[in-house]
Amino acid sequence: MVNSQGLLVNKRIRIIPNIIRRVRRVLQGHGNINVQVGEEVNPPDIIAQYTISGGYRRFNLADMLSCDPYEAIKYLQRQVGQRIYKGEVLAYKPNMLLQGKKLIVSPMDGVIDFYDENTGELSVSFLPKTVELPAAVYGIVEMVDSSRGQIVIRTQVTDIVGILGTGKSRDGILEMIGKRGDLINASSISAKYSERVLAGGSLVYSDGLTSAISLGVRGIIVGGINAKDYKSMTGGVLEIPLKIGRDVGISVIATEGFGSIPMGEDVYEILQGHNGKFVIIDGNRTKVTLPTFDSNSMHRIKTTQLPSLAQEPLVEAVKNVEAVEVEKGQRVRVIAPPFMGEQGIVLAIDQRPTLLLSGINDWLITIETKSRKFKVPHANVEIIG
């Protein structure tokens, strides 16, 4: 597109460094909050404790002991309501005529809930677990909401704005699991990534997503996702941005688009620098928040005023794309094939349009990346940074 000033392209803000804003720390169960409004906190400070119930397991004791349901209860080594720990003997049936002994060991720490003498089913609840909630950031406590179990902290962060995403706000430790161009599938994701936020790669396959959900991965930040998989997570339609937030048990953000597109160098480098640290991922807002871990930031946090919490909009209006004139020396990313996802500097802008093989006339710009130079239509780039 050309206007009286020159060639226009979209400029997209992908990284918002070192801004002061609020983050929420949320208790995932009933508990106690240890901090007050106005208190300064550091990342390792425990700001709350809460209890979570892990659910329950059921199994058929009668089948396991090879006896009738009304008989199996005789072999239970704990009574209903008692605790049992992983590895302890749950049930024992001694040697019988034509049958060997049967020993059932508890697979978990729990409490015997009930036994059904009609069906032989035994239910064991996981023992409640007490979890300590760290502040995870440097900052000032701005609000404490005990009824909702939330603590709002003013802090300094770097925000990464993705292209598309889904899933509610979650947090965890960031783990880089691949290079920019890697493909992420089920074999890339192991149980050690439980409760982590994973980053890296050009594409996450559907089996990778499924595996991540079942293993308790909190989020995935990747270059691309297949449109089919995205639609299956967002109710069947392609809606960008999402008008209604969706959540299928994991937060996912694609930083480049649909299909296999290497994660942009700009985003990858920032994430790599944050590897092993606490992050917040909000798929529905396509935003990754990286708190600053510089204790010197506290001065700026203290002296920066934000609009009151009451005035804070429920949904931020992030205007991160606008049309500007493209100029030499600007950093751009390519947003259409070929070279989709590549980033480089504008070396030159053609003075006359070129007739492309597609039959369209457009002004080409020359881009230099770390490894090569090439020309693309100006319509197929965005300015970044």
Binding site: M1, V237, I240, A336, S358, P377
Partner: protein
Amino acid sequence: MPKLSGIFDYFNGVAEIPLENIVQWLKSVPNKIVLENFIANRVLYPQTIPISEYDMEVDMAIVREALKLGTLKSLPSQKVVADTTTKKLYIPIVFFQRIPNLIQLIVFFIDAYLVKRHKESISEDIWTVIIQDVNEGVFKNSQNITIGTVLIPIFDNNQGFITLIVDSKKYQIKQGIVTVIPSKKNHCHIEFQVYEGKMLGVNEGAIEVNGGDVGIIIDARRVKNG
């Protein structure tokens, strides 16, 4: 300045068009996941343009099917696409800028807006085609540019044909094809004769129509009750 938009911003539900509808227009059948991602990226980045012939082929197939499904949004200041009162077919200029094959583009609009609609009068066999400059400021002196006229004879069977004399030249066009006769005249005199069919309710006659950069488009595909 507001972000740039593109042709695919003017449709609803582009990414939900059944892939089979698009694949039918492509010379080579692509991997469906790749095609679905390509279409989704066009929705994500609507201002981008195709570089290769194949990418343009895919874009044209998308536009064609999106028009047929009736998903075109109303643009500000845009007239109704097919105005039955004035017998004018308005094509927004954004399509003209994006699909350089103008004749194909007109055929897409004919298929979407003229072929399946219920004909209310015989005068709907003739439509003036106009590129509408909807607030784009591309045309300096006029918001609309007439580029030609579409003639749509109706045949009784697939053996029919139409002969036309345009600018003293004679043409014969068989049933089943779309033909373009160049004529830049504002007022173009045409004598026609339809064999095994009719146009404007008659087998033969003479008319004055608008020419333009495209000229006279004869869409001879229609068969009665077909």
